[in-house]
Amino acid sequence: MPSIPVELPIFILHLLTALLIARLRGLFSAAMLTGIFSLLSCCLFTLMDAVDVAFTEAAVGAGISTVLILGTLALTDREERQRPARALPFVVVIVTGAALIYGTFDMPPFGAADAPIHMHPVVQTFVHGAEHDFHIPNIVTVILASYRGYDTLGETAVIFTAGVGVLLLLVEGKRAGDPPSEPDHGSDGSDVPRDEAA
């Protein structure tokens, strides 16, 4: 097939976005780029038939995560400080990436219909089950809510845990003798961003 696959330009844009995020010092623009990164991922998810994943990624990755990062930046430094690049992280990343690529050599090619994960009998169980036991067309919903419903309970617990953690960290109770408006004696102007914001 001589034609260029559709995914290729998206992948290249993806990679460029990621590299730009790595290079940019301004954190606001980096935050916006993470949103774009998510949206590009959504395109790929859709191309790879994962519409549910694409939908969720759009809502979460491009939506909530970006809003949260922006919200954090309103409260923290917005500029990353310049530092000389170090060698060790580079080596770690190269070794890890090389190991992963080495691991792909024995993998079935992308899209192969005879890959083990498509040949395993559970796939037919799911499709058949959705059609005959549930009469629900969306197979993903059936697996999510039923066959692997327990994973989804765990996922709900994870969200709840994050909620509890954020409450513990950011929402203060009534504490005697500790006025919340007391500024922190930051050694290098911790409340500057907030002054700007006011």
Partner: protein
């Protein structure tokens, strides 16, 4: 984080009008996603996020106090916990009816119906927890932003 922005955003008439028009549709779409997840993509989780996004947009444009009157702090804390309990509660009810944990088929005489009810119930639980937790996290970050200035 939000406090500084609405000051400015509140004055932008285009933003106000457009968002007033958009938000009902976002919420409607959230409900659609919640209940249509059986047929198309979507489900409790996506619905919860979209629903929360509607309220967060409202909060960004019209100020935090406005949203807080509709979705109070106490509600998001309770909702977040309640969603998990609904989900787990369905499983516990299944157990009491003699089936395994999260085996919904015993919820009705016809196993297929039972499974339908079960899926509806747990999706509601997921939606509630996700919506409430997203709001809770949004409030937490937003409140942190206006803390040093006292009450906004």
């Amino acid at each position: 984080m939000i406090d500084p922005t609405p000051m400015r955003m509140r004055d932008k008439i285009v933003l106000r009008v457009v968002s007033k028009l958009l938000i009902p549709f976002i919420l409607l779409f959230g409900l659609y996603v919640q209940f249509h997840g059986d047929f198309g993509p979507g489900g409790g989780f996506q619905a919860g996020v979209i629903f929360a996004a509607g309220f967060i947009l409202y909060g960004l444009i019209f100020g935090l106090d406005e949203v807080e009157t509709v979705v109070p702090h106490r509600f998001v804390e309770i909702g977040s916990a309640l969603g998990v309990l609904i989900y787990g509660g369905v499983g516990v009810v299944n157990m009491m009816l003699g089936a395994n944990f999260l085996d919904y088929s015993v919820l009705a005489h016809d196993p297929a119906h039972g499974r339908h009810y079960g899926i509806l119930a747990i999706e509601a639980g997921v939606g509630l927890t996700v919506f409430a937790t997203m709001m809770l996290i949004f409030y937490a970050f937003a409140d942190r932003g206006r803390r040093p200035g006292g009450a906004a």
